[in-house]
Symmetry: C2
Subunit: 239 residues, 2 copies
């Protein structure tokens, strides 16, 4: 059922393809290079976002009901931390203090984390899977605004859903054990999309022409939402 | 003041040297190969211990008072996670399920974590610095009981105090800002040694002759305690 995750993990294809299964390279025309924030703002918010994802996953590691799930989730947490440290290394290369670069985005991302926080371990997993996947996917669409070599490194670094199969497996097991949790988790997963979209829209540097920006963003968000639906599908949920 | 940490981090020398600054290779005669548990028990408990250290550090990341300290500690947490995953990879190479190998040690290490848990962020840092350093140092003394190639890999992997300078810096800053915390933290640090020694003793497979085992362990523990004193010294504390 979640074969497409595993395939992605092996192939390490560019992210644009996630949004459209089987899409060709033409999907890259949907990228948002012209609306991307400046390099430091971009790296600062991605760094802080990945750190927040890491923190959420660390909590999930601690709350894991079994040693096997603890062990699996620690690998997912490690992947988020690798993303964070990779972006921090890029900031350091630019002689930018990572904390200063992250600071302007701490408040809105902390607020986002509060709004999307799960009430228990399973909801935490759904949240990090759905919002982490969506935002990594989104941030990848902005790499066109970075210098070319940096863009390529960041593109590889923040690949979405790299460890998603581990989370999907945990959730599927829980649903098999107690099918009643499925509807609660599906409802929770649907609620997350709105907040993820708002955080993404805030990350975009407007051109000043709002109508133009909306028109530019529309196909990208259509694409991101399609990828979201596939994440929900992998859990047997209707998005 | 904590120059020796930085030097170690650069040089990556074998752990035995930590115990005795400037000691020669003869310090390796103090290793406990003959009292080491079987390979799977050894790897299982080291894997679980590093996971517990990672969880404690993750909590410290979340509770960090500044973004700079959050960022620094996330690197320390990442190092503990790398140790954990490295040991898990060794278990998998041996076709052993990591969760099963860790299971027998989960209770005693969880109990240890409860006993040594700090009441606030600073105490958490002292705890992980003092007990993590001590136990990594101890576990390295047991690698002689592993097959030679595995021993070399584990020796490198679980190097103690690799990221300790980051923790020491945070604690020194806090003490400079408010010198009154020093005596509380020093007292807390001293209390940790007993629990660390007990956990280490439990990890040793006795030969059946208790007096012989004690005699074998004595020089090693003298060495471990000397390294503990130097960790305390780095904070300006008397061990």
């Amino acid at each position: 059922m979640f074969e497409w995750f595993r395939r992605r993990a092996r192939n390490r294809k560019p992210a644009a393809v996630i949004g459209q299964r089987g899409a060709t390279d033409e999907s890259t025309r949907y990228d948002l290079a012209d609306l991307a924030p400046d390099v430091v703002s971009y790296l600062g918010q991605v760094a802080y976002f990945e750190l927040a994802v890491f923190e959420t996953l660390s909590r999930a590691v601690s709350e894991s009901p079994t040693l096997a799930s603890k062990e699996g989730l620690s690998a997912v947490a490690g992947d988020a931390l690798t993303k964070h440290h990779g972006i921090v290394a890029e900031l350091r290369k630019l002689k930018v203090d990572p904390a200063s670069a992250m600071e302007p985005f701490a408040h809105s991302i902390d607020r986002f984390e509060e709004l999307t926080r799960g009430n228990d371990w399973l909801e935490t997993l759904v949240s990090v899977y759905v919002t982490g996947g969506f935002l990594d996917d989104f941030f990848q669409r902005l790499v066109g605004g970075l210098p070319k070599a940096l863009a390529a490194r960041v593109q590889t670094l923040i690949e979405p859903d790299r460890e998603a199969a581990i989370i999907v497996e945990q959730l599927q097991q829980a649903i098999e054990t107690d099918p009643r949790v499925a509807s609660r988790l599906a409802l929770f997963g649907r609620r997350l999309l709105g907040d993820a979209i708002l955080l993404a829209r805030n990350a975009i540097a407007g051109s000043g022409d709002k109508a133009h920006d909306e028109a530019r963003m529309e196909p990208v968000f259509t694409d991101l939402i399609a990828a979201h639906s596939r994440r929900m599908d992998a859990l047997g949920f209707t998005a």
